[in-house]
Symmetry: C2
Subunit: 208 residues, 2 copies
């Protein structure tokens, strides 16, 4: 797959089929992901790849709890606009079907307060999956709201400094690939100094 196609179309894919993801595919996407950079090349990352139905049921219960917390806090004042409602609807679908997700990857890191040394690898994992036709969604609410419970479930040694950075769901998509709408780049990129618009603007996505 073309790099730019992957960069443009790897949108959050929350609705997915229950078809399992073959081990060979899991092996491939991880081998690509660990080529990404980390501060001082320390590679202080660990990934727990969960496909076991019983573990997914437990994770799904914890995810549903975390999702309820998020809904009643962060989103309580943000309802109404169409794009947010559409995102919430598909997020609700994921919360309702979490245990049916064929692969959930729990990413852990340590000595990485900014996230700079784990999220490139996480995003590479998602892009590598996209290249093989697999959708994914980066979620962080399990780590935010059920950190200890998830660690207990997986046996993650928090006392050794490991922190959950993300839980990424993977599966063959029910939705379709598309270029997500975003605030145009010329509104979020400044030239030389904060607040100074660049010389260029972008009306339509430059790909395809």
């Amino acid at each position: 797959m073309d790099l730019y196609e992957a960069l443009y179309t790897t949108r959050a894919m929350r609705r997915m089929k229950q078809d399992p993801i073959p081990d060979e595919v899991i092996r491939k996407i991880f081998d690509a992901a660990i080529r990404s950079p980390s501060g001082g090349n320390t590679q202080n990352w660990r990934f727990v790849a969960v496909t076991d139905p019983a573990t997914l049921v437990h994770l799904g219960e914890l995810y549903a709890q975390a999702w309820e917390i998020l809904l009643s806090t962060v989103y309580s004042g943000r309802r109404g606009d169409e794009q947010t409602e559409r995102m919430l609807k598909s997020s609700q679908w994921l919360a309702d079907h979490f245990e049916e997700v064929p692969l959930v990857v729990l990413a852990y890191h340590r000595n990485d307060p900014s996230g700079a040394s784990v999220f490139p690898a996480v995003w590479s994992l998602q892009l590598a999956a996209r290249g093989l036709g697999i959708g994914s969604t980066l979620t962080t609410i399990l780590g935010h709201f059920r950190h200890q419970e998830v660690a207990d479930l997986l046996g993650a040694p928090l006392d050794k400094g490991w922190t959950n950075a993300a839980a990424v769901t993977f599966g063959y998509p029910l939705g379709r690939w598309a270029v997500p709408q975003r605030r145009p780049a010329h509104q979020v990129v400044f030239a030389e100094s904060w607040g100074v618009q660049p010389s260029w603007t972008i009306d339509e996505p430059l790909w395809p």
Copy 2:
């Protein structure tokens, strides 16, 4: 460019030519980068693209100071092994030549304590650049050690909650593209539970 080639070969490229990066290229890589996900699609990211020589001189001074702090703290106990020394040598090169880098992108975010909502975009920016033959290095020491000074230089409104996540250097490479050696995936990926090796191993990179 093939997606997997980009994922496998976008290693930290610290040694770069002084040749300028055209505006049209900057526009392209940002348009790709802002397609990446952010929590709740909030897109709480801003990027300052610095190409101005006078600003780069100032940034270079701050970077050299931050680099000295890093060397005397984090790396003071880590010297000696060949891979670390090689990395330090090329990092020293970057510290000595920072003002000659043709493009430095300062990435800011807010309401994103984990970094999950900015580092996918940062990494997409680097991958998009790779697709156009441009090398890059993700650095975080300016934000760690000279946060206020960099904000003063660029006019970044820290009082509005913006935090520097990274300073990424971009340029046409002096070094060569290659697949970086990493600890093999089967040693950092667990199956179902922490500490449980997956059924697969990887002896050599699976690409090309």
